[in-house]
């Protein structure tokens, strides 16, 4: 028995290792096997759809694009320093252009600290721009030029350049970026994200249901939105 015992232990550990790896790939959110009802089928069988998540309120008024009465309400939790969020930005612009008034986009701040050292500074810059009515202009610049600043030591002058570029009152913007009001908006959006189970960015909800990460490429997100329109009878 003693001769085979070590081999038996090794075999058991091998079995447990393979079994747990297999199990984890099945239960991890976003993996194809954990979403047995893909979006393309969900409208055909609405009963199988998960209930919408309401969450606690975020910062008000939220930053939105599109009609408040749009049948498809898309809410993104984003971090300006997160590369996948930067890649998602043009996709969302494309969806906004394609679906027009049928889609309303809301952006929520979800800076990932300490993963991204400039995430809060970027979020504050955008929120401070928002206090002068130019949130989306700053949002677009931060995402479009993410590669220019995300690895820099000092992003202050770069963000100030963006503020000038979009015609902000730069002194006011600087003061606002460090203000309690801006910090509170970011905090409230983060609280909302946590209450909705957001773990990372970008996390996207459509009408309160999380869109799996693998459904975020343009061609798949388009189908998810079309299905949602069909489900609401607006297509």
């Amino acid at each position: 028995m003693k001769r085979i015992l070590p081999f038996l232990i090794i075999l058991i550990v091998l079995g447990v290792a393979i079994g747990s790896g297999w199990y984890l790939t099945r239960v991890t959110p976003g993996s194809p096997s954990s979403n047995p009802a893909p979006a393309s089928q969900s409208s055909a069988n609405p009963q199988s759809r998960p209930a919408p998540i309401r969450g606690i309120p975020g910062a008000e008024p939220a930053h939105t694009l599109g009609s408040p009465n749009a049948p498809v309400q898309l809410e993104e939790f984003g971090d300006f320093q997160c590369p996948p969020c930067g890649l998602f930005h043009p996709i969302l612009e494309q969806m906004h252009a394609e679906f027009g008034d049928k889609l309303r986009v809301t952006f929520r701040e979800f800076p990932l600290v300490p993963a991204h050292q400039h995430a809060v500074a970027a979020a504050s810059s955008a929120e401070a721009a928002g206090l002068q009515g130019k949130f989306w202009e700053m949002h677009d610049l931060l995402y479009e030029h993410q590669a220019d600043w995300k690895d820099k030591m000092d992003v202050g002058p770069i963000f100030e350049g963006y503020a000038k570029q979009i015609g902000l009152d730069v002194e006011r913007w600087k003061n606002d970026a460090g203000s309690e009001q801006v910090a509170r908006r970011i905090f409230l959006d983060g609280k909302r994200g946590h209450s909705m189970g957001v773990r990372g960015t970008p996390t996207v909800f459509i009408n309160g249901r999380e869109v799996p990460f693998d459904q975020l490429p343009a061609e798949k997100l388009r189908v998810v939105i079309q299905n949602e329109l069909a489900a609401s009878g607006s297509r």
């Binding site: 015992l5 290792a17 747990s20 991890t28 976003g30 993996s31 590369p83 993963a115 990372g200 996390t203």
Partner: protein, 137 residues
């Protein structure tokens, strides 16, 4: 013997960590940014894949190898002890390289990768101690 049992136990932490990282990699979770810090940058970098195989998967296989060799060494297989030292030293060197890559190339640290480096360092110390004990006795 006790040192080899300790090495086997410690290698299980590394194995669990590497399995987790492999799953993150395979399911594409690694491409989303997370609160955990840095793992998306590290796992989605070109350094996370070797010859089409996720590095975390190779790490899992290595930890399983260490567990097997440490278990055999604990049961008195002398060759296993020698092989274990060689494998662990190699893993230690790879860990040093990966920390260098995270610090100076990717500029992001993945905590789960750092845990793996810590486990490998602990394994190196334990294995070298076990070799010394074996030689003295």
């Amino acid at each position: 013997m006790k040192l080899y049992i300790t090495a086997a136990a410690v290698s299980l932490i590394g194995l669990a960590d590497a399995i987790y990282l492999t799953v993150e990699h395979v399911t594409g979770q690694s491409v989303r940014c997370t609160i955990v810090a840095g793992c998306s940058e590290v796992l989605s970098s070109q350094y996370a894949v070797v010859g089409g195989v996720p590095l975390a998967g190779i790490g899992a296989a290595a930890y399983f190898g260490v567990f097997s060799l440490a278990t055999l060494a604990a049961f008195g297989y002398r060759l296993a002890g020698t092989l274990l030292t060689a494998v662990v030293l190699l893993m230690f060197l790879v860990s040093l390289w990966l920390i260098y890559v995270q610090a100076f190339v990717i500029h992001a640290f993945c905590q789960f990768c750092l845990l793996s480096a810590a486990v490998t360092t602990a394994l190196t110390v334990i294995t070298l101690l076990a070799r010394r004990t074996a030689r003295l006795s």
